[in-house]
Amino acid sequence: MTALLAVADYLPPGRVPIEELAGDFGLTPMQVKVFRRYHRLGSVRRDPHGSLLDLLRGAVAGLDALPGREHRVRYVLHARTFPTVVPYPHNPVRELCRELGLDRATVFAVGHHACASGLLAIDVAGRLLAADADPGGLALVLAGEKAFTPEAGMVPGTSFFGEGASACLVAPAGDRDRVLSYAADLRGEFDTDAPEQALEFQRIYADALAAAVLAAVERAGLTVDAIGVILPHNVNSVAWHQVCRTLGYPRERVVLDNVATAGHVFCADNLVNYRTARQRGLLRPGEPYVMAAAGAGRGATFSAMVLQH
C-alpha cells in the first residue's frame, strides 16, 4: 500500500498583502475588503527574484529522508496546476534531478486536474511503484509553481495564488501515511467562458468537493466521523466552511492556518498543510485523515484522498 515516506515544503519569506495585488488584477478597494474579511485571505508568498527551480530546490532541501536514497528514486513527478509553466523545451525539474544525482529516475510532469493535480501525482506515483513490484523503489513528487502571469496569480472572485513548493517521497509500502483511497470527479463541462457556467460552478462547488471527500472516505471503508483532520487546498476559508456544513464536519478540524498567510500554493497546499498539521500534533498514529482539493480554471476537478497516519 502506497505510503508517504517523507514530506517537506518551502514557502519563500517574501509576503505581499493582498491590498498590494489589487492593481495587478484590477480589483476595487471593496473587492479586496471582501477577500480579506469574508474569504479570510491576507497575504501571499512571493519570491520575486527566484525561479521555479529555486522553489522546488527549497522544498527538496527539507527532505531529510532523501540523502542516501537517491539511487532508489525511480520516478520524479512534477504535479502541475498549469500544464505549461516554462518555455518548451526548458525543464527545471530535470535540472534539479541532475543537481540531486537522481540520474536513474524517469522524470515527467503530470496534471490537467488544475490544483487537484497534487493528489493525482501521489496516486500515479503509487500505481507505478506498485506495478514495478520493487519494494525498494521510491518516487519523488514535487508541486509548486510561480505566479508568473495574471491567470496564475488569482482565481477570480475566489483566491490568490502564493508561490511555494512541496516535496514528498512516496514508497510502495510503509507503516505511516498510507494511502487508503483516492477519488476524483472530473467536470469538463466547466471548460467554457460562458458566464452561466461560472455561476453554476460556484453553485455546485461545496457540494461537489464534499461529495469527493465522501466518495474517498467510503472507498476507504470509513465514515466521516473517523477522519481526524482534513488537509485542504488553501483556496479560502469560507469555501471550506461551506464544505464542512455539507459534510457535517467540524470546521476547526480543517487545517486552514496557511490560507491567510501563504495563499493558494498551487498543487502544494495539501502537503504544506500536512507539515503544519504535523507541527501542531494534529495527526495521530493510526488515525485516518483526508487531503482534498478542487481544481478550477478550464474545466474543474474535485478530488480527495484518505490516508492513515
Binding site: 502506497t2 526548458h90 503530470v110 486536474h113 496516486d123 470527479d185 474517498a216
Partner: protein, 255 residues
Amino acid sequence: MRTFGPASEVASPPAAWGIRRAVRMAFPEPAALAGDPVHAERLARYLADLLHPYGLSPDPSEHVGQSYGEMGEALIHAAVPAGESVDLLVLAYSIPDLTPGRATATYLSHVCPGTPMAFAVSDQGTASAFTALRLVDAYARSGGLRRALLLVVEQNSLPYDPGIPVTVPAESRGVALLFGEPLPGERPARVSAPAAEPAGAELLRNSDPSQPGTGVWWELAGELARPAAGPRRLLLADHDSGRLVTVDLDGEVPR
C-alpha cells in the same frame, strides 16, 4: 466520480488485456480556436509572461497551431466504438499546444464516452508516451479498468524561439490506442515491457525524425491496421529513457 483503492494489488492486467483498436490521424489545418480573438489575446499575455523570465519573447508572426482538445476529441470519436465506454484516458505529449494553461485532459474526459478518469503526462520528450503506456498498465493492474485510451499527440507550432535546440514537429498528428479485454471475434495485441531486448522481435523504428512525439506510435498504429500475416512481435524502444515495449500481434486489430 472515479474512486480507487490502495495501489497494493500487483496483479497482472486482465487476462486478455491488450490493444483493441488503433487510430492515427493527421491534422493539417490550424485549430478552430486559433481564429478566436479572445483566445489570441489570452494566449499572447500567457506567452509573454512565460517567456519574459527567460529573456525570450513571442514570435509575432506565429499565432497558429493546434489544440490537443480538438485533436483528442477527433481521436476519441474515431477510436471508441459506439456503445462502449472508457474508464481511463491518458494524454501524452511533449510540445505544448495553443492552450498552454488548459486542463485539456479534463475536457477530454467530458467528451469521451464513460467520462473516464483522465490526466496528462508531459515534459519527458519522446518518452512521455512510453510513461503513459506504463501508467495504462499500472492502472489496469490495480485500478479496476475495463477499457483505457492512450492518446499520443504533437502539434506543429512553437510561437517562440526557445534559445535552446528544439525539434518542432513538421505536422500535427495524433495516435489513439484503445486498450481492453476483447469482444467476441477480436484478438487484441498484447503489450509488455521486457527488461532486456527479446530475441526475434522486429524493431519498429520512427521512420520520420520530424515527428519525434508520435513517430513510433504512428508506425505502430499502421502495423496494427495491416491484415494479419501470422504471429509477429514488434519492439518499440525509447533511447532517451531506455524503455522497451513489445507488442505481440497474432491477429487483426479491428479499425
